[in-house]
Each structure stands twice: as structure tokens, then as C-alpha cells.
Symmetry: C2
Subunit: 327 residues, 2 copies
């Protein structure tokens, strides 16, 4: 029997809270320790419709189930009145391959586990007293990353930039309803980071949006927009010159993330090994050494996060007796 | 809304008949013409449980939907009273990425499209008057390949070999119920092919089971067991010495199929290009030239077959008003 969970049921099971942080941290730790089977991402590009579907999967040793996740981005959808993102997760029994559950989350669990990874990056890499964050982008991750960040840092000020100042103002108006924070709209990417303690970049940009010269001392950057060969949010010099560079999975960031562009520009040697996020979680001393250090977390999104959150959602659904069983 | 189809409903939609042949042929033609996006297979190996999950996907230009397919083989399952195979297919809208359907087929559609590909290979490559087939293996594909073959050739005699003569006899007893064919059990792989017009190999063997020297003139071989780096059913000399070698997808057979071993043994140069099955379907003259030719079809299973059969099953389910809609 396979348990079918719809998107409403999944949202009932997984709310956005600090309980998720150790769950996703454990996933990164397993990945770093090599206790996982995580194959390269499968990607179907449909250029005609400006769409892509990615499949990620990871088995974590010792766990009785693992996830296969399909996540799509079809960027003409908003013109059709549909969200760009879509997807589902499939939970398989690790011992038998039996399909335990299909989680029709429409991308919600991916959004959540992505934002939680951002919170984890800031928890371990940003200065503890960080109070000002710069957000680049105004999409769903621009919202969720901010919300996740407030779980780990006492944020007071939010600087926002996007390509379209109208969207920036709309974002602030919308997000401000739920937050008691000071929002400021910027029309310049260099100014938006000027006095920030943390920078979060959330766009699908194919050209760098932030220069190394604009960065204040001590800033932590979470770059989570780039998850494909051609995407690039940070000037590659940032990767070269920062004090601590942390990939979620270097196997992925070296071909899909910001690191990819630093390697292609001959700023970083392709055989250089960095401590990944899991290693920093296990031993935080490998991260920031000084208040003035510039740190970068390069997040491409990993299958182990999907396995962790799909298992979590499923276990709660079982407890709540949610979903439909199908033979 | 996503249409959930269970395994009984899918079997109601897709029966095993000649109607499927042109549907799968069209998929191979599109693949051969380059009118597809078919990324490399994603594979999760769980060695501890002797299990593997493969994900295949392919978009075919011009079609309004495409499939992502998860197929698992967990080879300790029979000891637990469960079938080794499992899986599902997901049908996505090509224009929006919306998930139109989840087909919980437990691997049935994969079994069908695999057997139909075998029938297509024999249709185009075997001698038309072929009447004797040798089957190696006694699993589900040993049954389905035989059934599919009878759609395209007037088979009278079936020679069977497997590692375990008891299983060979059990297979014959079981399959013979539904067929009016002359079955003969063999305890030797060279003898089983001795007077065969067609040989179908259906095992997960990691060592060659059939030698070139044992092959009679004019035989056609469909080797469909090997779909992973380490699997190998045919002596690599067969690939070198046969008159016509036809891969389903050379991108796959060169790393997963019989061709892989011929390349590794330096019998075939890795840059040699063969006509694939789609090309033979488009222009059958590229196949067998003479009655005495030895032909080989190397089938690893392709995402385009999955897209074709998932679309077919879905269209019939819609007509029959089957399945449950989930938000």
C-alpha cells in the first residue's frame, strides 16, 4: 500500500519552525561523513517552454526509507496564472524498494528544506550578533529564507533589492504584514549589502549581481539561487577572496553553484577541497575565525535534504492518520 | 489536480497486444532522430539490501506530456515473499511541469514496454520465417519476451535454459498453460541456441552465458538482461563478430549494455557509431542483409519507452474515467 498525501495534508504536517533545523543538520552531517548514496542530479530541460525538471535522490545509511524527488521550474507559468514551481517526493523503503508514500507537495517541502539549509548556514557561519540582512530577489525563497533566518538570528533590519523596484516594494508590503522588522528598498545591489551582516541571494541570475568590492567586513553570504551550470549570482572573485567558502555538496557546487564559475575563471583550482556544510556542523571551529571574516555558503540543494524532510512529513502524517492508501 | 492510478487500473488500461508496437516504435524513432531530451539514468544503489532504484526520464518533442519513471530491483525481496521489481511512473505536462498523473504500476508498464522493445527488435532483425526461439532465464521477462515475440513471429518451438533446471521445468510448466508451443528444457547454454532462429537473454548475469562459437548461422539475438555496468550476458566476441549490432541507445549500451564489455575488452573502438533501433525502424534495410547474418539487439531500456507507455496508459484511463483525482 502506498500512502498518497496531498499538498494541504503535507502543509498540515510540516510547519516552518526550529524543529526542522536538527533534522536537516543530520542530513548534511551524513552527507559529509560519506554515509550516503547520492547520485548526480537528473535534469530534463524543455527549452521551448523555458522549463526544467530536476530529479534528486539520496539514501542515508541506517534509515529505513529514502526519497526520490522531482522538482520542476517552468518560467512561463506565471503568464498562464500558474506558479513556476512544482513537484512531488516519493518515499521508498530502503530494504525492499516498496513505495511507501507519494507526497504531492507541489514543491512546498523543497521550499522549506531549502530555507532551513539557509538558516543552518547563517547559524554556523554568520556573526552571532547579526541584525541586518540584505535580501536579493523577491520570490518565494526571498520570503522563506528571511523567515528561516529569524529562527537563528535576532534580525531587526531587512534591506531588499530586486531587478524591479515595484516588486521590491510589493515584497516589503507583503512580508511586513507578518514581521516586525525595518524594511528598506534599494535600487542598487552594491548599496543593499553596504551595512549588512548577512546577505542572501535568491535569484536565477545568469550574471553576477554582487561584487567583492561592495562587501562590508564580517558579512556572511548565503548564495542559494544558483543550482544550474549557467546560473551565477556572485562575482567569482568573492569565492576566491572570502575567508571561508562552504559548499552544501562540493560535487554539486563545482558544476552547478558559485564555485563552478570561480573554477571556470581559473580563480580556484578544480582539485581544491573545501569543508562542506556538514563538516562545519560537526566541527563549527572550521567555520568563521574572526568577526571580520567574510564567509560564503554555496547552496545548490541536495538529495539528503529531500530524504530528511520527506521522512519527517511522512512520520507526522502516519501519526495524524492523514492521506489515502492506494494498492 | 493529479490523477492517481493504481496497479489494477493500469492493467485494465494496458493489455499486452500488437497495438503497443507502433507506439514504442515511434518512441525509438524520435530518439534516433534526436527529437528528444533524454538525460543519463539516475541510479541509487543500496548494496546492503542488494537493491537498486533507477530513474529514467525523457521528453519527446511535440508531445504534451513526458514521464519520469522510478524502477527498483531489490533482489533479497523473494526471501521476504515480495517481488523484486517495483516502481511507478509520473506524467508531467510538457508546457507547465504540472503533475498530471502518478501511475502506481509496481513496474508493470516497465515490464510491458521492455518486452515490446524485444518484439520490435525481432520484427526488424530476425529472419521472417523464424520458428524456434531460445530463452535464457526464467523470470518475468523470460515470460513476457516470449509472449511479445509471438506478436511478430510464428513461433513453434521454445528452448529454455536457466542456472537451475528445476526453475526451467517450473517455467515451462507455467508458460505452457497459456501457449500451444513445443518447449524443451536444456542444461547447457551452448546447446540451447544450437538450432534456434532467435535467442533472447533475460538474466542479470555478470559473466557471459553464450559464446560466439555456439551461435548458428542466421540467428538474431535480443540481449535485454544487461542494464548496468557490471552486467554481461554475451561473450564480447559476439558483438565484434556479428553482422549487425543494434543498440536501443548507444549512449546507454556503451556504458550499461553488452557493447560496454566489447569496448572494455578492446574489441570495439569507443568512437564507433552503430545504427540504433530507431534508425532500423525508419530504414529496415540498414538491418539484416542475408539469411545467414547474425544480428544483435542490445536493449538497456530507455526513457522514451517510459514516456510513450505512460502517455498511452494515461489516455486510456482518462477515456475509461479511471483513477482518483488528488489536489
Amino acid at each position: 500500500m502506498t500512502l498518497i498525501l496531498n499538498s494541504m495534508e503535507i502543509k498540515e504536517c510540516v510547519q516552518f519552525n526550529a524543529e526542522l533545523i536538527p533534522i536537516i543538520e543530520d542530513a548534511f552531517k551524513s552527507l559529509s561523513l560519506g554515509k550516503t548514496v547520492m547520485p548526480p542530479i537528473l535534469r530534463v530541460d524543455i527549452e521551448k517552454y523555458h522549463g526544467e525538471s530536476d530529479v534528486k535522490a539520496a539514501y542515508i545509511e541506517g534509515l529505513d526509507s529514502f526519497a526520490v524527488k522531482v522538482a520542476s521550474g517552468f518560467f512561463n507559468n506565471p503568464k498562464l496564472g500558474l506558479p513556476s514551481s512544482n513537484g512531488l517526493m516519493i518515499l521508498l523503503d530502503s530494504q525492499t524498494g516498496v513505495i511507501k508514500s507519494v507526497l504531492l507537495d507541489k514543491g512546498y517541502l523543497t521550499d522549506v528544506r531549502t530555507a532551513i539549509a539557509g538558516a543552518i548556514a547563517s547559524k554556523y557561519l554568520s556573526n552571532p550578533e547579526s541584525s541586518t540582512v540584505a535580501i536579493i530577489g523577491t520570490g518565494i525563497q526571498a520570503r522563506m529564507q528571511l523567515e528561516a533566518l529569524t529562527l537563528v538570528r535576532d534580525i531587526k533590519n531587512v534591506n531588499v533589492w530586486s531587478r524591479d523596484i515595484k516588486k521590491t516594494h510589493a515584497y516589503i508590503e507583503d512580508v511586513n504584514k507578518n514581521n516586525k522588522l525595518n524594511f528598506t528598498a534599494f535600487d542598487n545591489t552594491n548599496e543593499v549589502v553596504n551595512n549588512a551582516d548577512i546577505l542572501i541571494t535568491t535569484t536565477p541570475s545568469k550574471k553576477p549581481l554582487v561584487d567583492y568590492s561592495s562587501l562590508p567586513k564580517g558579512i556572511h553570504i548565503t548564495a542559494m539561487g544558483s543550482d544550474a551550470e549557467e546560473k551565477n549570482e556572485l562575482e567569482p572573485d568573492i569565492i576566491k577572496n572570502c575567508d571561508v567558502y562552504v559548499p552544501d555538496s562540493q560535487a554539486q557546487t563545482s558544476i552547478l553553484g558559485e564555485l563552478n564559475h570561480a573554477i571556470k575563471n581559473n580563480l580556484i583550482k578544480s582539485d581544491m577541497i573545501f569543508n562542506d556544510l556538514g563538516k562545519i556542523i560537526i566541527n563549527p571551529e572550521l567555520g568563521r575565525k574572526n568577526n571580520d571574516d567574510i564567509t560564503v555558503a554555496d547552496l545548490t540543494g541536495t538529495g539528503v535534504q529531500d530524504t530528511a524532510i520527506a521522512r519527517y512529513a511522512y512520520s507526522i502524517a502516519i501519526n495524524k492518520n492523514l492521506g489515502k492508501k492506494v494498492e
